[in-house]
Symmetry: C2
Subunit: 217 residues, 2 copies
DNA sequence: CGGCCAAATGAACGACCGTTCAGGGGCAGT
DNA sequence: ACTGCCCCTGAACGGTCGTTCATTTGGCCG
């Protein structure tokens, strides 16, 4: 057995052969998203992506410098949008840190439910980018974590949050990481087919977060 | 530029050339763990693994049928051990669901802090296994989630837990998923070099979990 | 010392990779 | 009708992949 590309839960057929209607650069982005999400960056070939939108391998290089740049392009765009949405949600939520936290969770979780494919790729495939390109994605991640830490710090200062201690100290960064981990990975298992809606998910996670940080009612 | 394998945050040198002391099958397992964790299954070559323990490519096939079987072997062993530890911790914790939950979190989080490499591989590389082999890993995952759901159900029944609602219903499975997500992904960012110990992490996460499910004091 | 066999070697195989590039078709402006 | 430009094609390049296999090694038993 010398075959390669058994590839992530044996998805087989790219199927599509007819040319995508959209401008080619967007068709490529969309096809790449789908393929990366289903089978993972390193096993998806340039030929796979281009076949999926009805073109041939070489045409990719009229729109992107490399397969690596394509991945960075699609990750960076969704990551930037996410950062923008989070900032906006917090800014619009008023001064109460409880409202800020709830607004943040709502936006973050609902986006990770609705745009599962994009979130999945952005969070699972970063490691394949070369060092230069990965840096600004990580910066955006840190910025988002910073927003959460800021909300927690304000809540503690205002006497509205009473988060658990870690080794005697209040480690707000660890708590923010723990919360972000659970919000982010919703995209790994939530299915829109179930009986629970995105709205329900957002409220559930917001409740759990407020309880976890010891928010006063 | 036609090179391949820039490979996950540009780790370069396997370095080791001298033969590993241990019996070869264990040396191979150890080297594979390290390499898969650092760079990811699909970009780590058989040649990389064998060079890292001082052997040549062909020798792998005296011990494993394929690269795929090697991955399954190392994932299945740590997954099985994890399942066993979780069951044991819950069994030894007595009848109070609060103690059970705390004991579970303690074992689960501490293991994911201490054996970061193993946990990382087991959780990130599953997707590369073929359908047959991935099945029993998923069964073990479901079993572990089942333990958590069982603890929550008992806590609710005993009137000791008051978990948040999701869309009017109590969705214990969703809550268990959310909690397991945060416990599992500790292995992605916890570094033993920091000021916070594994013990602190276990307590922090146990506190957050008990608060999230509304445990009575 | 000779025979045995598990284990290791390293060349070889067939396949596929990301990327390049000469060639060509279609359509705007002149 | 001609030019120029954009975009696509598909063969080709140099390289790496997982796996196989004839051959060699090296330790143990008699």
């Amino acid at each position: 057995m010398t075959k390669r590309k058994p590839a992530r839960t044996e998805v087989v057929a790219p199927a599509v052969v007819e040319r995508d209607q959209r401008p080619p650069i967007e068709a490529i982005r969309a096809a790449a998203f789908q393929q990366f999400a289903e089978r993972g960056y390193p096993v998806v070939t340039v030929r796979d992506i281009m076949k999926a939108c009805g073109l041939t391998q070489g045409a990719l290089y009229n729109h992107f410098k490399s397969k690596d740049e394509l991945l960075h392009d699609i990750i960076a765009s969704t990551q930037g949008e996410l950062e923008r949405l989070c900032q906006q949600a917090v800014a619009e939520a008023g001064g109460d840190p409880r409202a800020k936290l709830a607004a943040f969770v709502r936006v973050y979780v609902m986006r990770h439910c609705r745009l599962r494919v994009e979130a999945l790729v952005a969070n699972r495939e970063i490691g394949w980018l070369d060092a230069g390109r990965v840096a600004d994605i990580r910066r955006s991640r840190r910025a988002i974590r910073g927003i959460v830490v800021g909300i927690l710090a304000q809540g503690v200062e205002d006497g509205l949050f009473d988060p658990p201690l870690a080794g005697g100290r209040r480690d707000l960064k660890a708590i923010a990481m723990a919360l972000l981990d659970q919000w982010t990975h919703v995209s790994m298992w939530y299915g829109p087919g179930g009986e629970i809606t995105e709205e329900d998910m957002a409220r559930l996670y917001a409740d759990m977060a407020l309880r976890a940080v010891g928010a006063r009612p």
